[in-house]
Amino acid sequence: MREIIRHTPGKIFLGILFLSIAGMLFVTRYFPHKVVVFGWMTLPLVSGLVFVFVWLVAYLIYFFKFWPYK
């Protein structure tokens, strides 16, 4: 992680991960709504899938393009 915070892409990468965690905590205020997406996906499932997708994309870009030890 020390190598990640030493350069700008790493800082952006960590910032995105941090913001996604904050976003996960923020969206909990909508969970009392009885909404299902695509007919069956509850909001905690949808928010988590989006969260994992954000981490996946950020990781792919950073680790395959910018990670100093790649």
Binding site: M1, R2, E3, I4, L17, I21, M24, L25, T28, R29, F31, P32, H33, K34, V35, V36, F38, G39, W40, T42, L43, P44, L45, G48, L49, F51, V52, F53, W55, L56, Y59, L60, F63, F64, W67, P68, Y69, K70
Partner: protein
């Protein structure tokens, strides 16, 4: 018939363990860390199914069944926590262990902080929290065994313990990792197969029909705070934080040290995100939060909810498939308990016996100690679980996971922060541990929070403050744990 199938299943595991014994190099490094030769695919199965215990079949869907879908935040936190371990801590832990031939993560921290006392504290603390966890697994299988065959719980528990002991004694880490592929496939197909079969049989409209049924009969099961009002935004957030701290589970941390090369750390998170987060862990979620309450509503007791999937399968699917699912549960239990057992035996043999009491022990002696200790650990675990099974369920969520987290600040600081000191690590760890024990005895000390939250904050704050107030680590340590590691990782 059931007994015959389970005997063949056990035999298959024993054959693999024997093969592992035959090909092993008979060195401590080979026995404890698979000779540091595990590649990315084996590592994925190894770690995913070391994490996925019988809890993913009983406790997790049972909790969703009673409380609604928001408990999945623990899984989202865990996925991020495991990925963070491999992205942020893994390369450094792996490199420093490889460069200096360290065999245990506690050994790494003892050398990093130049403290045999810390080694003793961490070893005893982790053992205290991991031992009862090991015992829960065979007992869980025993209950499934009883439900299917009518045999007493102890029969299934002894069957599982026998498999575990032989697998770990003969095979060591290498074969435990390889057998986890076999066990993982059995478990994943049992979970997925049963889900597809039940949906096809009872919900011709698929998952939307299940959601529609719940919307009409029990809509609280589709939203927060859930039917019992438990999941407020604060609790949901706390649940995710508990999951994020999964990076500190010792039996997962030690897996990092078995990696073949640093390329693994580049690829591993991909599998964690796609196959772990998006695919595997959504199966018990769909089972527990949608399908089970739609197919079999009205179950209210915690124990009945815990076995809801098994009850549905046993009641509505053919007997042969119930046996296959039980094999899957055994696979889940064995794949987790074997890694925990091996980790415990490494803590005893490498960190306590060789690290503290007998520094001149040879490789053969350490392996022998590891094998003796694992028999002791498994018997102790089982004894504690049988003696007080109800307390064990609480022990897992309220004690084991907060207990594992208490070495988190020392672990992260030791690998990433040059200024972290021995005194800071000892004071922080002991303070967090004492606070945890005191809070478990007198609950108001936790201020209505999950035990992990206040204890880890106290631990972390004291670690940082005491580190700043005490002299920095020696230059030799800083060179060994930071400069040399960075040079090694940066070199091709």
């Amino acid at each position: 018939m059931v007994v015959l199938i389970l005997a063949l299943f056990g035999l298959a595991i024993l054959v693999m363990a024997s093969y592992g014994y035959k090909i092993s190099a008979k060195t401590a490094e080979d026995y404890m860390l698979a000779g540091r030769t595990i590649g990315v695919v084996v590592m994925f199965f190894f770690i995913l199914f070391a994490v996925s215990s019988s809890w993913t079949f009983y406790g997790y869907p049972g909790y969703l069944y009673l409380h609604g879908p928001t408990y999945i935040y623990f899984i989202w936190g865990s996925v991020a926590g495991f990925a963070a371990l491999y992205m942020f801590l893994g390369p450094r832990l792996w490199a420093v262990a490889r460069l200096n031939r360290y065999l245990s993560p506690v050994e790494v921290l003892a050398e990093r902080y130049e403290s045999p006392l810390l080694r003793l504290i961490l070893s005893l603390m982790l053992l205290a929290f991991i031992v009862p966890y090991v015992g829960i697994q065979p007992l869980g299988v025993g209950l499934g065994f009883q439900a299917l065959t009518g045999l007493p719980v102890i029969v299934g528990a002894i069957y599982t313990v026998a498999l575990l002991v032989i697998l770990v004694i003969l095979g060591g880490m290498r074969i435990v990792a390889w057998v986890n592929i076999f066990l993982g496939i059995v478990y994943a197909t049992a979970l997925l197969g049963s889900l597809i079969w039940v949906v096809q049989k009872f919900l011709p409209g698929g998952l939307p029909e299940a959601a529609q049924t719940l919307m009409q009969t029990n809509p609280e099961l589709l939203s927060a705070p859930g039917p019992l009002g438990r999941f407020t935004p604060a609790i949901i957030g706390g649940t995710m934080v508990v999951g994020l701290l999964a990076f500190s589970w010792p039996h997962i941390v030690i897996g990092v040290m078995t990696a073949r090369d640093k390329v693994l750390f580049k690829w591993f998170p991909l599998l964690i995100f796609i196959f772990g987060g998006i695919f595997f862990y959504t199966l018990p979620f769909i089972w527990g939060s949608l399908v089970a309450p739609a197919v079999m509503p009205g179950v209210t007791g915690k124990e009945a909810a815990d076995s809801i999937i098994q009850t549905i399968i046993t009641k509505f699917l053919p007997n042969w498939f119930s046996v296959y699912v039980l094999m899957g549960v055994i696979a889940a239990a064995v794949s987790t308990a074997a890694v925990q057992l091996l980790t415990s035996s490494i803590l005893v043999s490498r960190d306590l016996v060789q690290g503290i009491f007998k520094p001149d022990a040879s490789d053969r002696q350490i392996i022998r100690w590891a094998r003796f200790s694992l028999i002791g650990v498994v018997l102790l675990s089982l004894g504690v679980s049988i003696w007080n099974p109800m307390a064990m369920a609480l022990y897992l969520t309220d004690v084991t996971i907060p207990g594992f987290a208490q070495w988190g600040p020392a672990l992260v600081g030791g690998l990433l922060w040059k200024r972290g000191t021995r005194q800071g690590a000892i004071v922080g760890t002991l303070a967090g541990l004492v606070y945890l024990i005191a809070g478990l005895i007198y609950k108001p000390l936790f201020f209505d929070l999950h035990p992990i939250m206040p204890t880890i904050i106290v631990n972390l704050v004291l670690y940082v403050i005491v580190s700043f107030l005490t002299p920095p680590p020696s230059e030799e340590v800083q060179a060994k744990f930071f400069d040399e590691v960075e040079e090694f990782l940066a070199a091709g």
